[in-house]
């Protein structure tokens, strides 16, 4: 003990030590070891495109809109489209739902894409050196364009052949403008063409032409989608007043205004059926939506159905067409009433209510009950064991000619835009592995590029980005330290009034301000990611969290860390882990 001998000659007998406590390496007491351990967010595995959503929202919070946009583009070349029309399964698995309500991920995706459009930004993405293989892509729909995008990033040169006069597939011809304006679609496609993808429109690929392509190219990706309507299988379905809903939408997107006077019956319950009904209303007609199940069973987005009803679409549930006939120039539709009885495939089964029929008189019928491939060669032969069948694509590398890959709606179980993106990505990665390492490497290599324990592929992981280091563990709500988050209402999407909506095909969802977007992005828990909040540094009782941003970056000084675990508990986002110390 040292007597005080400082400033004043009066001595005070107090405890004072000039020894540094650094000599006491308290790290030797530790039996638990904290570490920085970034994990997987549930939204990112729910996204078929495997977008790094927690990172994207973190960047948006920081105002790094360009970087956020690029972060989306590395996994999905269609942010402008998906921000508008994706069924956003990400939001359904958002941990924030258990706190207040899910983050409006789709609104943010759209905002980020719109911001890139507004400022005319070009993405700066890593592109692999050129490869010698050339790839032909049949169909410039979402899957084909996505395949071209990812293949180009991987260094392959791609030629896309499109039958119609403009690219985009269903996005261009099948989705009404009030949901997806042309400028939004064209902006996403512009990024793809600027990567050097050559697109040939008005080039319909026949079976003969396909043989030519197989000779000229090293691989052919077939993503021509479904263009043939499904039959209703009822008498009278070939009458002139009965046509395909998708064809009706196509006419509108082609600049025509099909006649819609009187009542139009629309058969189906999916998004196409709702799109057709709402388009009929916009063209001045009356829309009668007929669905064989109930409203809650409709595959269409609930919000779309709600808005359709607001706009004046009439919905009849539990009715199926039985007979179609002509009567005085009008269509007489006999409807079979249905009832719910029992279950099948995990949902309520509907069966015909015997003897209960009624008739409606309509001007025309538009079918929207699903589509199928128009040519048999566009379908995958799933019985052939020699063919490599993956979740979103089918690869045939037999023979000396080009590798054949099928993707998009013709193979996807879920026929959505984002599944088509997933298909294009899977095909691109699979081809790259096949060309570089052989067919045997495809499955294991793809397996290594999955996001967490899910089935979505990540291009960033494939390219060796930082995301590959992330722990596959999916962060649960219980693992978030909600003490560090405030209740905050989800952003309210501004929309046109319903009176304005039915007057035109103007986009319904209006833009949100940067302020609103950043506020919404801030709601994101950023599950499993470190946003440098410094809680670990603030709470460490041993000053063992070293910020040292200049050289080593944030790290733990294990010479002194006692393994108390405070840092892990106080990490709001579960970006740290506590494990047993291995002796």
């Amino acid at each position: 003990m040292i007597m005080n001998k400082y400033v004043n000659p009066d001595n005070l007998y107090i405890a004072r030590s000039y020894l540094t406590t650094e000599s006491n390496k308290t790290g030797s007491w530790r039996f638990l070891r904290p570490c920085y351990d970034e994990k997987t967010a549930p939204c990112s595995i729910a996204c078929p495109a495997g977008e790094d959503i927690p990172r994207i929202e973190m960047m948006a919070t920081q105002g790094l809109f360009k970087e956020a946009w690029e972060k989306i583009l590395i996994e999905n070349p269609f942010p402008s489209v998906c921000g508008r029309v994706c069924f956003h399964p990400c939001e359904g698995s958002c941990n924030r739902r258990d706190f207040d309500s899910a983050v409006a991920i789709h609104s943010l995706e759209r905002f980020i894409a719109d911001t890139a459009i507004r400022y005319g930004i070009s993405p700066e993405l890593e592109k692999k050196p050129s490869r010698k293989q050339r790839i032909a892509i049949v169909g410039a729909g979402t899957a084909g364009l996505a395949a071209a995008w990812f293949l180009s990033l991987l260094g392959y040169s791609c030629d896309v052949f499109e039958a119609s006069s403009e690219v985009g597939g269903v996005l261009r011809w099948g989705i009404p403008l009030y949901r997806l304006p042309l400028s939004a679609l064209r902006h996403d496609i512009k990024q793809i063409t600027e990567l050097g993808v050559a697109i040939f429109t008005g080039k319909k690929v026949s079976k003969e032409m396909l043989s030519e392509l197989k000779k000229k190219y090293d691989a052919v990706f077939i993503g021509c989608g479904h263009s043939l309507g499904m039959p209703l299988s009822v008498p009278g379905e070939n009458l002139s007043g009965v046509s395909e809903g998708l064809e009706f939408l196509r006419q509108i997107r082609d600049g025509k205004s099909p006649v819609c006077s009187g009542v139009t019956a629309i058969i189906g319950g999916g998004n196409t059926a709702v799109d057709v009904a709402r388009s009929v209303v916009r063209l001045g007609g009356k829309a009668l939506l007929l669905y064989r199940r109930r409203r809650q069973d409709m595959p269409a987005l609930a919000l779309e159905v709600e808005m359709a009803l607001e706009e004046g679409v009439e919905l009849e549930e539990l009715v199926a067409p039985a007979v179609i006939s002509e009567e005085n120039g009008k269509i007489l539709l006999t409807l079979q009433e249905m009832k719910v009885e029992g279950e099948e495939c995990g949902r309520d089964r509907v069966i015909a209510a015997t003897g209960k029929n009624r008739q409606v008189r309509v001007e025309r019928i538009l079918k929207a009950i699903g589509m199928q491939a128009s040519e048999s060669w566009q379908q995958a032969d799933r019985t052939d064991n020699e063919i490599l069948t993956l979740s979103h694509s089918v690869l045939d590398s037999r023979g000396r000619e080009a590798v054949m890959v099928l993707g998009g709606d013709i193979v996807n179980k879920t026929k959505s835009v984002v599944d088509a993106v997933a298909s294009g990505k899977q095909a691109a990665l699979a081809l790259d592995i096949l060309f570089q390492e052989g067919i045997e490497a495809v499955v294991p290599k793809l397996q290594a590029c999955l996001v967490g324990p899910g089935s979505s592929l990540s291009m960033e992981i494939f390219m060796g980005g930082e995301r590959r280091l992330r722990n596959k563990h999916v962060v649960s709500y219980e693992e978030i330290n909600t003490d560090y988050f405030r209740f905050s209402p989800r952003v309210t999407q501004p929309r046109l009034l319903k009176e304005e909506r039915i007057q035109s095909f103007e986009e319904i969802d209006l833009k949100i301000s940067a302020h609103m977007a950043m506020k919404e992005a801030e709601r994101c828990f950023n599950c499993g990611l470190c946003n440098q909040c410094d809680n670990c540094f603030i709470f460490c009782p041993d000053t063992s969290v070293i910020l040292g941003r200049d050289h080593q970056g944030r790290h733990i000084n294990y010479d002194y860390c006692k393994g108390c675990g405070l840092c892990v508990v106080e990490c709001p986002r579960n970006a740290m882990s506590l494990g047993e110390e291995k002796s």
Binding site: N4, Y6, N8, D10, Y13, I14, A15
Partner: protein, 389 residues
């Protein structure tokens, strides 16, 4: 310059004049007026001091321990529950020999919630090693607070200036506020005997084994003894400049008194009135006002009371299971003297009840008419309790 000041503001003016450098406090009635005005002084530049806002009184004292260790003059004020929450760190401040000064406005402890005067809160801290001074009026509060810094810094022990809730803290009286230059002559800038210094890094308050700890505690005991002598020196220096002196105790008409009231705080003023009336009736009564409670001025007390037959100790506090705390202290101070008065204990004015001249005279007559005191203090004015059905 004479000003009409609230008791709380008398404290604040003294703190301003003492040129305190760091103030930290957490608001609590009835103390809040003190730090309220000080925070204004810090904001508007009247004082060149840092006001640290904290989330509790515990943190407040911790902050001041840190600040005082750096070598600056510090101050805080609290009351009742706030003081109780500081308890652990009161020991630390004294053990670390840090001359922190605190104004403590006596407030009853909950439950039930009571914001009025009661000395139990500060007396419960009597063993923490803090010097304690109980003040009677606004002038004494101002003078004692200025003196407290000099005394604390001389003996390296913290000082608690204690004042009654509302009867003193919220009462306006004329107070002579000295000029800054005059105070500067009395109170030099703080010269720490030790301090944290980045040029010579060290740790204070580290582990001390049995071999050293007891001796360190003995040094505190010696410092407390020294404080009794230094208190006189400080008062001398103050009187030389300002011509005011209070003493560790004040004896009023004690020379020929047979029965002497023992008082503290504002009860003393009321007792002065009762004394006048008793003396007018020919009663040989006196008052011994106790200002300095720690260190307890035992010798002075023995001397002032040696001729009396009985003393009546007024306690605005109570130690459950024992008796009024001043009564305990008086008995302890007197018992080893060969000839001493009999000690009668009375509990009065708990939780802000009024202590009137009539009540004090009643105590006088009770004392005069009793041969021997009861074992414990007598609770004055206890009502019959009516329980709800």
């Amino acid at each position: 310059m004479k000003r009409v000041l609230e008791g709380s503001h008398a404290v604040a003016e003294a703190v301003r004049l003492a040129k305190v450098q760091v103030i930290s406090a957490y608001p609590i009635t009835p103390q809040t007026h003190i730090v309220e005005i000080l925070s204004q002084y810090c904001t508007n530049g009247t004082m060149k001091a840092k006001f640290l806002r904290v989330e509790s009184e515990h943190s407040c004292m911790a902050a001041l321990i840190g600040a005082q260790s750096v070598g600056v003059r510090t101050f805080t004020a609290t009351s009742g529950q706030g003081l109780a929450l500081m308890h652990e760190l009161l020991h630390w401040a004294a053990g670390a020999r840090l001359p922190i000064v605190m104004a403590e406005v006596n407030r009853a402890l909950a439950p039930g919630w009571n914001i009025w005067v009661d000395q139990t809160d500060s007396l419960a801290q009597r063993d923490t090693g803090w010097i304690q001074m109980y003040c009677e009026d606004g002038q004494e509060v101002l003078d004692s607070t200025i003196q407290a810094f000099l005394l604390a810094e001389t003996v390296n022990l913290p000082v608690m200036i204690v004042l009654d809730a509302f009867y003193l803290s919220h009462t306006y009286e004329p107070v002579d506020v000295p000029e800054p230059e005059e105070v500067d002559r009395f109170l030099p800038p703080f010269a720490p005997k030790f301090q944290l210094d980045t040029a010579q890094p060290c740790a204070f308050g580290s582990l001390v084994g049995p071999g050293d700890y007891m001796d360190m505690r003995y040094q505190i005991a010696l410092a407390m003894d020294d404080a009794l002598i230094r208190f006189g020196d400080v008062e001398d220096a103050f009187a030389a400049l300002f011509n005011r002196r209070y003493g560790p105790v004040e004896a009023i008409d004690c020379a020929d008194a047979e029965i002497i009231f023992i008082t503290s705080g504002t009860v003393t003023s009321t007792c002065r009135l009762a004394l006048q009336e008793l003396r007018a009736q020919g009663e040989k009564a006196g008052i011994l006002k106790i200002k300095l409670f720690r260190p307890f001025p035992v010798d002075r007390i023995r001397k002032e009371l040696q001729a009396a037959k009985k003393i009546a100790v007024i306690d605005r506090n109570f130690s459950f299971g024992a008796s009024g705390i001043f009564a305990q202290e008086l008995r302890a101070a007197l018992c080893n003297t060969p000839r001493h008065p009999v000690v009668f204990g009375y509990v009065a004015g708990i939780g802000g009840r009024d202590v009137t001249p009539e009540l004090l005279k009643e105590i006088y007559w009770l004392t005069k008419n009793s041969e021997v005191p009861q074992k414990e203090s007598i609770w004055m004015g206890i009502q019959e309790v009516k329980y709800a059905d």
